[in-house]
């Protein structure tokens, strides 16, 4: 069986004169174990590999992919990409990036994790469920308790001279706990990722899920009003996803971002600094190069409230007359690169969470929001989302609240940030500390 570099190389060799061809090849081996009632509920092993071919001829872009291809099928994919390019619109900014020096990040791949025995993975999943159902008498079962991991490799080659390859290991634990009392059920969720099992704190995943479900028991609908709102990192990370789309140069260039035309302007509170950093090992999305082989880097998007930059891949950078920020991202080999975040986070502040709660007297802590994808628009910046949380009384978390909706606009919310906590927490590739918003509309009854 050909290795990834050979597959990618075969695509590049199939290029004709005046064609730019890039091949993105990846392979992954994944294991997932879920536990339920003390037994293994599901055990999944997966092996996959594939290649995506991007071909540019006279400024026209065509794409084709194939799962587990032979060398002949790679050549056939190049031919299909060529046919597709003929029907696409010519665009002078379509181009492949030149070869650049990539600094490897060896810490992304852990030999021990790649060799971890299945029995160990099973025992972690069982332990995760056991910890979740034995921490609190009101939490006797879970909706989900699982461990998963992946060992993956990526290779990129192009007629522009790119030849880049790297491997990584990732593992994760997730628990969704169910708390019950007097016929009422509440759920609470937690999730952590790491590069190897030794760095994965699955005990805290179980504990957090339990606490977050149990503390919602007895929740009531709040009265409507304008209140101070504290977003805990779980809730904050949902909103950050909306900002990610709006800060991509692709959205800006297509007039699909609320930040279009605002570079250099104040878009948020001076307490807010927002960063994308593809190299920091603090976040799980670190990688030596992006999905078209450009080295990753650190970009300050918003610095002390001022909009400083957008995220770019090679296409948007050419169109915008700037350099790629190393933010080409794709959903695997099946899609050509777009623009996306790497480790995307709000820089933590100096305020302890206890101080934030004291300053939010009479307000609410939002612990989860739902419907952000449907209820928040990265284009208009308006949102109205469902939320669960707790009332803040005397600097402490009090009565649980449900069936709340929180409505505002992203610009108002960013400007209304009155404190940023010191407790930065990453959820997948998005990181955020606890944040105090001076005032938002909370609707209930």
């Amino acid at each position: 069986m050909a290795d990834l570099a050979e597959l990618a190389g075969a695509a590049v060799e199939a290029a004709r004169d005046h064609e730019a061809v890039e091949a993105y090849a990846e392979e992954a081996r994944r294991t997932e174990v879920t536990a339920h009632k003390g037994e293994v509920e599901g055990l999944t092993f997966a092996e996959s590999r594939g290649i995506g071919v991007r071909l540019i001829a006279t400024g026209r872009l065509g794409y084709a992919y194939a799962a587990d291809p032979s060398i002949d099928e790679v050549r056939a994919a190049v031919a299909r990409a060529r046919e597709n390019a003929e029907l696409a619109t010519e665009d002078e900014f379509n181009a492949l990036p030149p070869a650049m020096t990539v600094e490897p990040i060896p810490a992304l791949f852990r030999e021990d994790q790649a060799a971890l025995a299945t029995e160990r993975k099973v025992s972690v999943a069982l332990d995760l469920e056991h910890l979740a159902v034995s921490a609190d008498p009101r939490v006797a079962k879970v909706d989900q308790a699982g461990y998963g991991d992946a060992v993956s490799r990526v290779a990129i080659a192009s007629t522009a001279g790119v030849t880049a390859e790297y491997g990584r290991t990732d593992c994760w634990a997730v628990v969704s706990a169910l708390a019950e009392q007097d016929g009422e059920t509440q759920s609470g969720w937690s999730f952590r990722v790491a590069r190897e099992l030794g760095e994965l704190d699955w005990g805290s995943v179980a504990q957090e899920a339990v606490e977050r479900s149990a503390r919602l028991l007895g929740a009531v609908k709040p009265a409507s009003g304008r209140l101070p709102v504290v977003l805990d990192p779980f809730a904050g990370s949902s909103f950050l996803g909306v900002l990610a789309g709006a800060l991509s140069a692709e959205s800006v260039q297509k007039q699909r971002s609320l930040f279009a035309g605002l570079l250099g302007e104040d878009v948020g509170s001076p307490l807010m600094t927002l960063v994308d950093d593809g190299r920091t090992l603090d976040g799980p999305a670190a990688a030596p190069f992006d999905d078209e082989g450009v080295p990753t880097g650190r970009t300050e998007l918003i610095a002390h409230g001022t909009l400083m930059a957008f995220l770019h891949n090679t296409y948007t950078a050419r169109r915008g007359g700037t350099d790629s920020t190393g933010n080409a991202q794709r959903g695997g080999y099946r899609t050509p690169p777009g623009v996306g975040t790497t480790n995307f986070f709000v820089q933590p502040g100096a305020t302890p969470v206890s101080d934030i709660l004291r300053r939010a007297e009479g307000g609410v802590l939002i612990q989860d929001v739902s419907g952000v994808h449907s209820g928040a628009s990265p284009i208009s910046g308006e949102f109205s989302v469902g939320a669960t949380g707790l009332r803040i009384e005397g600097g402490e978390l009090g009565e649980p609240l449900r069936e709340m909706t929180v409505a505002s606009t992203v610009p108002e919310m960013l400007k209304g940030i009155a404190a940023v906590g010191d407790d930065l927490r990453f959820f997948a590739a998005v990181g955020v500390p606890t944040i105090l918003i001076a005032e938002m509309t909370v609707a209930g009854v």
Binding site: G42, V142, M404
Partner: protein
């Protein structure tokens, strides 16, 4: 894609240690996606996906292994890996494989491969022209055309051999409109389990018009009111709510995990007597339909609510065996890379006795919802939330000005019990439903209906 003899060997390898059953799912999928954005045909993507998954069941536990290689060695290796999840026991039996007759066939009259890609590109160009000519306020149009043919072979240790080819087509259009610093979007995306004849009934130009009108109309929107009030849902939208709020908690895995608000309540009246709801995979050429589910069980129609009374759940094979009932043919998966789980197909609220005009005319004050942006539900408590992407005020029985930033929140049983009018103007809405990291095509549908009281979240008073 493979012969029956090899399938039999794979199943025997899967049952080497026993377990309750073994299943082989093989898939090959050819797809074409064309994206138009910013006035340009940005890219065309051709895809070839293929792979096989082997599942070995043991009670409600299972082992699953998949590979995108289809050779004998890879398939036998996957079978051994899946079998390893089962505690050591004696080998189980594999019954001779017999081909099953489909209960319904969803034919593509005009197969996607018979039409050159240039024609599909032309439809997208037409979409762009129509949307932009509708109003000077249209700022941006993005549209995507997608077709795929998924060929599946399913073989099970109890002797099932199923072959099916599923043709799917979809055209989705998103329009951005802007005026005086206000930006609004509109989306429309009809889809079918069909060939290109689908676009005769759903012309690209009409799809473009619907999306563009949605965006442009919402430019005049004022803040949505907040508080409890009557809400009238336009045709199709009640189906979206039914899918999220009632459908998910009626999936048997959710019930089995005791995470469903409907658990143990079959036979109770848990919705208005006006509500009869079904899940139906046999609707010909509907987006969520098929001939067999992804476990090889024939497509069927399952009544969930009859005049408000809860009738039953949606089952896959594992959960059905546990409850000692037959699968309802709701075992679905995104691809060979995913084990099947209970999923909806086409979930519909059926027509009622009222006329839509009368329903609106008899509503003094409330909100009329013509497009929902999707939503989320907590099946354990029944709490749900939906974003309203197109909505209007109802004042004095008349639909008046558009409102923005609204959402609907409530609890499944309360809200379904509060339905006090159901009209006879059924329509559908197509989407991709996500659950446990798997997306599958689903249809939803309903006539116009009114909820007497529901919480509307908005920024206005």
């Amino acid at each position: 894609m493979l012969d029956r003899e090899l399938a039999g060997q794979v199943l025997r390898a899967g049952r080497a240690r026993g377990g309750s059953f073994a299943e082989l799912f093989v898939e090959e999928r050819f797809s074409l996606t064309i994206r138009l954005d910013d006035g340009k045909i940005e890219e065309l993507t051709s895809g070839l996906d293929r792979g096989a998954g082997v599942r070995v069941g043991h009670g409600t536990s299972f082992g699953y292994a998949f590979s995108n290689r289809l050779d004998r060695d890879a398939l036998l290796e996957a079978a051994s890996a899946a079998a390893a999840a089962v505690a050591e026991g004696t080998a189980g039996q594999v019954v001779d494989l017999r081909a099953q007759d489909p209960p319904v066939v969803h034919r593509a009259e005009r197969p996607v491969e018979a039409v050159p890609a240039a024609q599909k590109v032309a439809w997208l160009r037409e979409v762009d022209d129509v949307a932009r000519s509708l109003s000077p306020h249209v700022r941006q149009v993005s549209a995507s055309y997608g077709d795929s043919i998924q060929r599946v072979v399913i073989a099970t240790s109890d002797g099932r051999w199923v072959e099916e080819s599923r043709p799917r087509v979809r055209l989705g259009v998103q329009v951005v409109a802007g005026r005086d610093g206000i930006i609004q979007t509109g989306f429309h995306g009809p889809a079918g389990l069909a060939g290109l004849e689908f676009f005769q009934g759903h012309p690209p130009a009409t799809t473009a018009e619907v999306a563009a009108k949605r965006a442009v109309t919402m430019l005049d929107a004022g803040p949505a009111p907040a508080g409890e009030m009557p809400v009238v849902l336009a045709p199709g939208m009640g189906g979206v709510l039914f899918h999220e709020a009632c459908g998910h908690p009626l999936e048997a895995d959710i019930v089995d995990k005791e995470a469903s608000v409907y658990r143990g309540r079959i036979g109770e009246v848990l919705a208005s007597s006006l509500v009869t709801g079904v899940d139906d995979a046999t609707v010909r050429n509907a987006w969520g339909s098929f001939s067999f589910d992804d476990e090889g069980v024939p497509a069927q129609r399952t009544v969930l609510f009859r005049e408000g009374e809860l009738q039953g759940l949606m089952y896959d094979r594992l959960r059905a065996e546990k409850d000692g009932v037959a699968s309802t043919g709701n075992g679905r998966r995104q691809s060979y890379a995913h084990p099947p789980i209970p999923r909806m197909t086409n979930s519909y609220i059926l027509n009622g006795p009222s006329k839509a005009d009368d329903v609106l005319a008899s509503t003094e004050r409330g909100v009329y919802v013509t497009a929902l942006g999707g939503g989320q539900t907590n099946p354990a408590s029944g709490d749900f939330v939906f974003g309203v992407s197109e909505g209007y005020l109802i004042e004095g029985g008349k639909v008046t000005s558009p409102v923005r930033g609204a959402n609907l929140t409530g609890r499944a049983i309360e809200v379904m019990s509060a339905v006090d009018a159901v009209a006879d103007d059924f329509d559908t809405w197509e989407g991709v439903c996500g659950k446990d990291g798997q997306g599958v095509p689903v249809g939803s549908g309903s006539p116009s209906l009114r909820i007497a009281r529901i919480t509307v979240g908005g920024t206005g008073g």
